[in-house]
C-alpha cells in the first residue's frame, strides 16, 4: 500500500520561518510589484470568461492563476496566498518524493525556482503575455507532482496507463506542459524504481507505463492541435508557460521552469534512494542547512533589485490615483543619493577618463559610469514633471530636482510608451494617443484591470458613453473595481459631472487643440510631447497647456520655441512674477543671443547666473568639474542646459 510520508513538526519549523520571512519581505518591500502584477492581470466573475479559459491548452490553469492574482491588488493578501501555496508545494514535495527529514531542504529547490521565476521578472512584466503569471506556475507545479503521486499510488499497470492517458490529454488541455511534465516524470519515476514497494509489477510492466507516458506526451500536441485552433505545433510545448512579446526574454525567463521540470524528473529517479538516506543520518547533518542557505542565496541573487524600477511603478500607481504630491515624494526619496558615494563615482570616472587613450575607451568609460552613477530614468523624470505641472510648480522646481536618463536595468530596451504611455498621454490630454498605446498593449498582452480602466477613462472624457459601457460592464464583474465602475458610469452619462470630477477636471484644460494627425514618436513619450506642444498649435489655449508648453520648450533647449512659448504664457497666465526656471532660461537665452528684452530678473537669479558663468570660465565643464558643478548649480536651468546633456540624454 502506498503511503505519503508524514512530516514532523520539527522538520517544518525552518520552512515556516522562511515562509514568514518571505511574506514579510513581499508585503513590506515588494508591495508595489505585487500590486502592479495584480493590476496587469484580469479575473472576471463571468461565465464567458470561464469558457474562454478552455479555448487554449493550459487555459484553465491560467484561469485559476488569474483568480488568485486579483488578490495581489491587496498585496498582503496576495503575498500570503502565494506564500501558503509555496509552503504547500514544499510540503507536498517532501511527502510525494518521500524525502527524509535529513534531506528535507531538497524540497526547497523547486520552491526556490518558483520564487526566482516570479521575482526575477523586473521590467519583463511589461512584455508578459499572461494574466496569471504569479500564481499559475506554483499551481501548475502542484498539479504536476499531483499527477506523479496519483500515478504511483494506483495499483496495476492498466490503471496506471489509463490514468497517464487521461492526465496527458486532459491535463494538457487544462494545464499545458505542467501536466505533460508530470506525466513524463511519473513515467520516469516508475521505470527507475526497481526497489519500489509501491509497484511490484514485472520490469516490463514498469517500462510499459514509462513508454505509455512517453508516447502519450509525444502524441498530445499533435492530436490536440486538431481540436484547438489557438496554438501552433511550434509552440505546443510552451502551452501553460509564460509567454513574452520579446522572444529572447521568454527564453531566459522560462529557464527556471525547464530547471523545475528537470529537477522534478531527477527527484522522481532518486525517490527510491531517499529511503536509504534516512538511515545514513550522521553524514547528512549539514545537508539541510547548506541546501537551504544555497537556495536563499540563489533566490536573493536572482531577485530583481532596482530602485528606479521600484520608483517607476510606485510613481505610476500614485499618478493613476491622482496623488501628485506622492509622485513627487517618491521621486525625491528615490533620488536622494548619497553625495559622498556619488562624488567618488565621478572622481573615479574622471580619473579613468584622464587615462583614456582613444575615443572608444573614452566612450566605454562613459557608458560604464552611466550605469554606475545614480540617476533617475526618463520615465521618472516625465512622471515627476507631470506631477509638478499638475501642482503648478513645474516652472519653479522641475530643473531643481535630479535629472538625467539612466537606462532601465533591462537586457532589452523598454519603450516608455508601452510602460506608461496610457497614463502619461492621457494626463497631457492626448487621449487618442493614450488609447493607441493602451490598445497596442491589450493586443499584445490581453486585457487587464489597468487597460480596462484606461479605456473607460478615454471614453468618458471623450463623451463616448456607449463605448465606455463596454469596459464598465467588464469591470462590474471584477472583485475590486466594481465601485470604481459604478462611479465612472455616472460620469460617462453626465458630461457636467465628469468635467468637475478628477482626474478629468485636471486633464480637460490640456485638451485645447484642434484635431490633427498625430506626430511620429517611435514609442517615446518625450518625442511625442515636444512635438505635441509645438507643432500645429491651435489658436486657443489654456494656462495649463501653456505652462506645459513652456516647460517642454525649456526641456528641448530651443530658444525659438522658448520665446514663443513665453509669449503665449504671458497671454494666458498673466504672471505677476516669473517663475525661477523661466527667469533662468530667459536670462540664459538673452545672454546667448545677446538680447535685452527688458525682463525683470530676481537678484538671486542674476547673481546665480553670474556666479555660474565665472565658475565655468574658471574651471570649465569637464569630467573633473562636473560633480562640483552639480553640487553648486544643479538646481538651475542653465546647469540643465549645459550639463545634463553630457550623459545619454536623448535631446542631444
Amino acid at each position: 500500500m502506498y503511503h505519503s510520508k508524514p512530516i514532523h513538526f520539527k522538520t517544518a519549523i525552518p520552512a515556516l520561518v522562511i515562509a514568514l520571512a518571505l511574506w514579510i519581505v513581499l508585503t513590506f518591500f515588494q508591495g508595489h510589484f505585487l500590486y502592479k502584477n495584480g493590476d496587469m492581470s484580469l479575473f472576471l466573475f463571468d461565465w464567458d470568461f470561464f469558457k474562454e479559459a478552455f479555448s487554449i491548452p493550459g487555459g484553465f490553469l491560467g484561469w485559476v492563476g488569474s483568480f488568485f492574482s486579483q488578490f495581489l491588488l491587496i498585496p498582503w493578501i496576495g503575498a500570503l496566498l502565494w506564500t501558503l501555496l509555496l509552503l504547500l508545494a514544499w510540503w507536498k514535495t517532501v511527502q510525494i518524493f518521500k524525502i527524509p527529514d535529513k534531506l528535507s531542504a531538497l524540497a526547497a529547490l523547486p520552491v526556490g525556482l518558483l520564487i526566482i521565476a516570479n521575482m526575477s521578472l523586473g521590467y519583463s512584466i511589461y512584455y508578459l503575455q499572461c494574466h496569471d503569471y504569479f500564481f499559475a506556475p506554483v499551481i501548475g507545479y502542484l498539479l504536476m507532482i499531483g499527477i506523479m503521486d496519483a500515478t504511483w499510488r494506483l495499483k496495476g499497470t492498466a490503471a496506471k496507463i489509463a490514468f497517464i492517458f487521461a492526465s496527458a490529454f486532459g491535463g494538457y488541455c487544462l494545464a499545458g506542459v505542467f501536466a505533460l511534465a508530470g506525466v513524463i516524470a511519473a513515467g520516469i519515476g516508475t521505470a527507475a524504481a526497481p526497489d519500489s514497494k509501491d509497484f511490484k509489477g514485472h520490469i516490463w510492466e514498469r517500462y510499459a507505463v514509462s513508454a505509455a507516458a512517453a508516447v502519450f506526451c509525444a502524441a498530445v500536441p499533435f492530436v490536440l492541435y486538431r481540436l484547438f485552433t489557438s496554438f501552433s505545433i511550434a509552440d505546443s510545448l510552451l502551452m501553460g508557460l509564460p509567454n513574452f512579446t520579446i522572444l529572447e526574454w521568454a527564453q531566459s525567463v522560462r529557464l527556471p521552469y525547464w530547471l523545475l521540470f528537470g529537477l522534478t524528473a531527477a527527484m522522481a529517479i532518486a525517490r527510491p534512494y531517499f529511503a536509504n538516506a534516512e538511515s545514513d543520518g550522521r553524514k547528512m547533518a549539514l545537508f539541510n542547512p547548506a541546501i537551504t542557505l544555497a537556495a536563499i542565496i540563489a533566490t536573493s541573487v536572482f531577485w530583481f533589485k532596482d530602485d528606479n524600477f521600484k520608483a517607476e511603478i510606485k510613481m505610476s500607481l500614485a499618478a493613476e490615483r491622482n496623488d501628485w504630491q506622492k509622485v513627487i515624494d517618491i521621486f525625491e526619496t528615490a533620488t536622494a543619493y548619497n553625495p559622498d558615494k556619488e562624488e567618488k563615482k565621478y572622481k573615479d570616472m574622471a580619473h579613468e577618463l584622464a587615462n583614456a587613450n582613444d575615443e572608444e575607451t573614452y566612450s566605454q568609460i562613459i557608458r560604464i559610469y552611466n550605469g554606475k552613477i545614480s540617476r533617475p530614468t526618463r520615465l521618472m523624470v516625465i512622471l515627476r514633471d507631470l506631477a509638478l505641472l499638475k501642482q503648478g510648480k513645474a516652472l519653479d522646481k522641475a530643473f531643481a530636482m535630479q535629472d538625467g536618463g539612466k537606462k532601465q536595468e533591462s537586457k532589452f530596451p523598454i519603450v516608455n510608451s508601452i510602460e506608461a504611455g496610457q497614463l502619461v498621454f492621457f494626463n497631457y490630454g492626448a487621449v487618442n494617443i493614450g488609447y493607441h498605446w493602451c490598445l497596442e498593449n491589450q493586443v499584445l498582452l490581453g486585457w487587464s484591470y489597468s487597460s480596462l480602466r484606461a479605456m473607460t477613462s478615454y471614453a468618458v472624457i471623450m463623451n463616448e458613453s456607449e463605448f465606455a459601457a463596454k469596459f464598465l460592464d467588464k469591470l462590474d464583474k471584477t472583485l475590486f473595481f466594481r465601485k470604481w465602475s459604478r462611479e465612472q458610469r455616472v460620469l460617462a452619462n453626465d458630461v457636467q459631472a465628469m468635467s468637475s470630477a478628477q482626474p478629468y477636471k485636471d486633464i480637460l484644460p490640456y485638451m485645447c487643440f484642434e484635431n490633427r494627425m498625430a506626430e511620429y514618436d517611435d514609442g517615446d513619450c518625450e518625442i511625442f510631447l515636444v512635438n505635441h506642444f509645438f507643432k500645429n498649435r491651435s489658436n486657443w489655449s489654456t494656462p495649463e497647456f501653456d505652462r506645459a508648453a513652456l516647460l517642454w520648450a525649456m526641456r528641448y533647449k530651443d530658444s525659438v520655441m522658448f520665446w514663443k512659448a513665453l509669449a503665449q504664457y504671458f497671454t494666458t497666465n498673466n504672471p505677476e512674477h516669473l517663475p525661477k526656471h523661466v527667469q533662468e532660461a530667459a536670462l540664459l537665452f538673452c545672454s546667448i543671443e545677446n538680447e535685452d528684452l527688458g525682463i525683470t530678473f530676481d537678484k538671486e537669479v542674476l547673481d546665480g547666473f553670474t556666479h555660474f558663468q565665472e565658475y565655468v570660465q574658471k574651471y570649465g565643464v569637464n569630467s573633473n568639474t562636473i560633480y562640483r558643478l552639480w553640487r553648486n548649480f544643479g538646481d538651475t536651468y542653465y546647469y540643465y542646459y549645459f550639463v545634463t546633456n553630457v550623459y545619454s540624454f536623448k535631446f542631444n
Partner: protein, 521 residues
Amino acid sequence: MKKHSILLCFVMAIASCAGGPDAGTITSDESLRIFPDYSEVLIPCNLAPANFMIDNEADAFYTVLSNNGQSVTIKGQKVRIPEKDWKRLISGGDGRIEVNVFIRRGKEWAAFPTFGINISSDPIDRYIAYRKMPLIVQVYNSLEMIQRDITCFDEKVYFSNTMVHEKSEGTCVNCHAFSNYKTDNMQFHAREHNGGTILVIDGALRKVNLKTPMTISAGVYPSWHPTHKFIAYSNNKTYQEMHMMSHDKIEVLDQENDIVLYDIENNAISPIENDSSEMECFPTWSADGRTLYYVSNHYESPFDSERFDRILNDRLKLHFNLYAKPFDPDTRTWGPHYLVYDAAEKDSSMTWPRESPDGRFLMTCISTHGIFPIDQIASDLFLFDFKTGNARIIDEISSPYAESYHAWSSNSKWAMWSTRREDGTFTRLYFSHIDENGHFSKPFTLPQKDPESNRKLLYEYNVPEFQIEPISVRPEDFAKLISESDAIPAAFESKRETDNDGNLTTSDYRIDGMTGASVQK
C-alpha cells in the same frame, strides 16, 4: 385593435397558467427596450432564433412569442428561444411572430405593447464568413477566420493565425473572398511571417506570392470573376495614423494604388489600371463578369519621400469616384474605363462597390473623404438601382456611426454589412432585406445564442461574406500550407487593352515569376 385585444387575452390566459402575468396586469407606460432590437424587423425564413434581452428594469420577465397558432413562453430577462420552438414559429415561411413582453415589479405585472418580428419567404444564404479580431491599431495577435451557420449558432474557426505563430513571428490573415458563394474556390491573404496568398482552387490548396517586380504590392482587396478563373486585386501601399482629437481614432491612407488581374490558371498578374496620377482601388466584377467596377482618386504628386506627408495633409481632399471598365473574359481583353459616379463633385468619396448577383443594384460606401470607411463615423451605404436609375444614400439603414464592408446574398434579397452602430467602435454585422422597389427593411443584427454576447464581446467582426456551403478545408491544412510551403511567385503579363474603336493598344509579354525571364507572346 379588437384582434390585438383578443390576442392579448389569449396570451394572458397562457401566461397566467404558467405562473406569469395575471388578470391584474396593467399596461406599462414606459417603452420597451430590447437588445438587440428585433422589433418590427423583417427576417429571412431560415434565420437562427432572434434571441434578445429586455433592458427595462424589473423583478421578473415573461415573454410570449406566437405565430401560426404556435406559441412559446420564455421566462427571464434573456429571451433565448429554443431552436426547435423557433422553427415551429417561423415554419410558415411567411408571416409575423407576435411578441408580448411582461415585466413584474413587486407584485404587479405590466404588459408592453405587442411588437412583431416579420418573416420573409426569401431565404438567406446559410453561411457567412468573417474575421473576428480585437481592436487593432498596429500590432495584431489573435485573428480568427470564422464561418458561421446563420440558420443556427454553429460557429467554426476555419483558420486562426495563432496556428502558425512561430516563436515571436506572427502572421496576419485577412481579405477572404469566395467564388460564386461557394467554398471550393476561395482565397485569403497571410501577411508577414510565411506570407502569401492562400488559394483554394477546385478544392486544391496553393500558396502564391502576388508581388512582382512590376507591381507596387501583393494582391490586397480581391474579387473573384463569376465565370472564369480570374481574381481582380487592388495593389496598395497602406499606412495609418492616429487622430489627435476625434471620435474617428485612426486614419488609414494609401500612398499608391493600382488594380491588377490574377489569372489563376496561368499564375500570372497583369495590370488593369496603373496610372501614376490615379489611385485605383476596390475592384469588383459585375454579375455577368463583363465589367469591372473600381474606385479611383485623381492625385498628382511625385513619388518621393515626402509623398506620404503630402497625402496626409491632403487627406480631406482625397475623393474617390466610381469607374467601370469593360472586360472580355474569353480574350482577357479590357476596354477603356469610364466614370460611373462623380463623388468628388459632391465632396464625397465612394468605396467598396459590390453589384448584386441579379445585376440590378450596386452598393457602395460613401463618406466625406478617403478610402477606409470603417474608421469614419460619417460613412454610409449608397445604392445604385440600375432598373430605375436612382442613386441614393440608403438612409433607412444608416446609423450615426460608420457603415462599411457589405455583401449581397446569392439571391440578391439580403444585404449584410459591418457597422459600428452599437457603441461607435466595435464593428458588428447587420442585415436587411431589399424589396422590389429598392427599399431596405429595418436592419437587424446577427442572432447570437446569448443575446448579450455582442455587448460583452471585446472583439469585432469584419469582412463579412456569404456562402452557400461549408468550408471543407481543415484549419490544420491551411496552417500546414502556410507554415511549410514557399509561396509560388506569380508571373507578370502585359495588359491586353483596346481603344474605343476596339483596336488592341498593348503588346503581349510575360515575365516569369521564378526566373524573371521575359518572353514576347
